[in-house]
Each structure stands twice: as C-alpha cells, then as structure tokens.
C-alpha cells in the first residue's frame, strides 16, 4: 500500500520501460529497440514525495560500484485488471499519471549487462523508486504525449525533454505489456527516461517535475550503519 497524494494504491508490480526516448538511447549507445524493452522494480523501492533516497553503503564504499543515477519518467497507474488489451482501448484501463524516478546503480547495471546478467539488483535497492506527488486523473491530462518533463539536481537542470519524444506511446506500451502479463489495479508502469542522465551523491536534492502533474523532491542521504 502506498499513498500518492490523497490516493492510496496497492500495486502488485512496477514495470519499467528501458530505451524509450531516442536521445537517451543515443547517449547510452544502446541499439534502438524494435519492441518495448521492459524490466521490473519491486515494491521495496517505493518512496513518496519528500522522503529521502538512501545511497547504499555497499555501493558508496566500492569504487567499482559507486555510481548511482537519477532517471525521471512519466508513469501511469492501472485502473482495473487487464490482459491482452488493444491499444485503442488503453485509456479505459489507466487511472492516471504520476512522476517516477528510476534510480539505478549504473556501474553495477553495466557490469551485470556486460556479462549477460539480469537487470535486477542494480535497479531495486530500497528507496530506488520515488513516486508522486499525486496521481493526475486521465480527465485532467487529455494528451499524455505532450508534457514537459524535467529533472534538477541542486537547482541545476539536468534532464529537460517532452513526452512527445517517447518511442513507444502509452497505448502501444499497454497493449504490449498486457500481451505478456495480467495487470492489476494499482500496478505502476514507468515509460522510460529522456537524455541527460547523470549521477547523484549524498547531500544532493533532486527535483523531478512533469507538466500538469507537479513536482517531487528528494534528498539523497548516505545509508547509516
């Protein structure tokens, strides 16, 4: 159970898209996907507006692993159980939109990927999934494909894009994912990050905003013993 603004949701899973903005694909030298690339974050990652992002000590103290990145993303929340839905009726299954930060232990992810390991542990430390500050209902956002999306670290703009640059749009994403798995009310789908990814360190203040939704603010703190 997580309270986002004044709405309580009970997600069973968080599904994230990788490589869904062309500018981000270019900066990471990844191939352009022919179908959506998705992976999972688990519920232990979720924190809400103003809660700290905890930088794990086991990463901080290891010079091979001590890079943790922000990634700002538009997320949508599933309204009702669905499977094998068509893109044309996708919006019937969406409760609304919110902001999500896909915090990633970047060096660990790279090391794992290079030896063909899963993209899991680097993405799923506790607090690596800030979300909020509210769920904007579909009725407030008629076109989710034209929203300015921005992330600042200590007041400096690091990511600035628009959701119109998404490679796979929300209805296509929902049709694709629901051809694999049954989605449940409250499930969270994050749609990928634009270019400008970079690292965070303890003491940083991260502000992520999406037009018509709002802003989330998170301080990065080092995990205590």
């Amino acid at each position: 159970m997580v309270k986002i603004g004044n709405i309580e949701i009970n997600p069973t899973k968080i599904i994230c898209l990788g490589r869904n903005y062309l500018d981000h694909i270019q900066e990471t030298n990844a191939p352009i996907p022919t179908e959506p690339v998705f992976f999972v974050k688990t519920l232990n990652t979720l924190v809400t507006d103003n809660q700290p992002i905890i930088y794990p000590k086991i990463l901080f103290e290891n010079e091979n692993l001590n890079r943790v990145d922000y990634e700002v993303e538009l997320a949508f929340i599933i309204f009702q159980t669905c499977k094998n839905i068509k893109a044309r009726s996708a919006f019937d299954y969406i409760q609304g939109y919110t902001i999500f930060l896909d915090i990633t232990a970047r060096n660990m992810q790279k090391n794992d990927r290079n030896i063909h390991l899963p993209w899991y542990r680097s993405k799923n430390f506790d607090t690596f999934g800030p979300i909020g500050p509210r769920i904007a209902p579909c009725s407030e956002i008629e076109n989710p494909d034209d929203l300015v999306i921005q992330l600042k670290v200590n007041g400096v703009v690091k990511q600035l894009s628009n959701t119109k640059h998404m490679l796979f749009k929300i209805p296509v994403v929902l049709e694709y994912i629901s051809s694999f798995i049954t989605l449940k009310r409250g499930d969270i789908i994050a749609t990928g990050t634009p270019s400008g990814i970079g690292s965070i360190i303890p003491g940083d203040v991260i502000e992520a905003s999406i037009e018509k939704i709002g802003k989330i603010t998170h301080e990065v703190i080092l995990e205590e013993d």
Partner: protein, 226 residues
C-alpha cells in the same frame, strides 16, 4: 494466497539463476562468483492442480515456441528483514515449498544474447506453479539434503539433490537482504538442477521435493482471446 492452512501475501518473488553446477554445465553459463538474481511477478503464481497456460502467441511463433520447466526448492520469508546474517538466517524463514520456474526459453536466450532484461520470458501468467504446502523450518532440519525430481508424463526429467546447491539457503538470504528489504510472504526460489527441457500442451508436470510433496500441473494451450 491460501497455501494449505497458511495464508501468504508475497510482495515479490526473487529467483536465483545458475545455482546447481550440473545445470551451469548444461547451459554453458559461467560459474557465478555471487548469486545471480532475477524477479518474477505475482501474476505468474498458480497452485497445485492449476493449469500452466501456454501462451498462444508463443506457440504460434517459431522463434519463441519453446517453454521449459525448472524444478526448484523455494523458501518463504517469515518477517520483514534487511541485512540478515547467515548465522541466524533460519529465524527469518517461514518454511519451504516446491516451485517451478517456467521459462520461455528461446525468448530468454534471445534476450540474454542482446543483453536485455530476463524479465518477460519468465513472468507470463501461470509461469510460477508453487506448492502443494509450506513445510515449516522445524519440519525440515536440513534443506540441503533433499531429493528433487521433475517428471513429464511420468518420465523423470530432472533428478538431483539440494546438496548440489552452489549458494546455500543461508548465504542466499544474507546476500539478497543486503540489497532489498524482504517482507513476510516473499518467495525466494533457489535455482534448478540439470535436465531442463520443454513442455507442450497436454503434458502433465509433476515436481517433487522430498519431505515437502508433489506439485502437479497440466499444460494447456491458451484459448483464443475474444
């Protein structure tokens, strides 16, 4: 989720890959220096006697039409925990059960080669049969000496023993809980031995672990979507 007489509410399913030497040899994967972890999502869970549904769009696609069984010992987390030491790992375990990590093998192989996540091939609905019961920790003194077997239509396909686990249950719990807070009911599957192979619609899969029991699931083809 009702499990015999126990109700569990897992927030996550964490699977360990490549954790039996014989399976590592058959898949030609590297011997891991630390446990390899990947997730399955709760939509994959089904119980004893529920059908494994073979997705029609995999069945009809020659690039994807291989689905494999993988018999595994799983354990269930008892209470919320983080940074568990292997010395007291068993205090944090509710008990043991049988798990079948059903996998769309060709899709997984293709994704691995492309350095993509191991997720979609592992988490189709019904790709995680579990059961038939949870045997409590005090009923199984040594989880590392249990025969594990999988039969397809009565024919033995996997036959091994949990003593061949590369990373043992306490090490796994210590390792996993360094990364993630575990919640009561979370499921950890410890990996599969050698002998993996395909299933087809109509097959009857029986997965047994000594002292726990047998999990029986029939494979059926997904019906046409309306």
């Amino acid at each position: 989720m009702k499990f015999g007489d126990k109700d569990i509410n897992p927030s996550k399913i964490i699977c360990v890959g490549t954790n039996y030497m014989d399976h590592i040899e058959e898949t030609k994967l590297d011997i891991p220096k630390e446990p390899v972890l990947f997730p399955k999502t709760p939509n994959c869970l089904i119980f004893d006697k529920d059908p494994i549904i073979y997705p029609k769009w995999l069945y009809n696609n020659r690039k994807y039409n291989r689905i494999d069984y993988e018999a595994e010992l799983a354990f269930i987390v008892k209470e919320k925990c983080k940074y568990v030491s292997q010395d007291n790992a068993y205090e944090h375990i509710l008990g043991y059960t049988v798990f079948n990590d059903v996998t769309a093998r060709k899709m997984q192989a293709k994704d691995i080669v492309s350095k993509l996540p191991w997720f979609r091939s592992k988490s189709f609905d019904t790709f995680g049969p579990i059961g038939p019961v949870i045997k409590e920790v005090n009923e199984i003194k040594d989880p590392h000496n249990l025969n594990i077997e999988l039969r397809v239509n009565g024919e033995v396909k996997q036959s091994s023993n949990t003593k061949h686990l590369l990373f043992k249950v306490p090490e796994l719990l210590e390792y996993i809980s360094k990364f993630f807070t575990l919640e009561p009911g979370d499921i950890i599957a410890t990996g599969t031995p050698a002998g993996i192979g395909p299933i087809h619609p109509g097959d009857l899969i029986e997965t047994s672990i000594e002292k726990i029991g047998t999990l029986t699931n029939k494979v059926i083809l997904e019906e046409e979507v309306n």
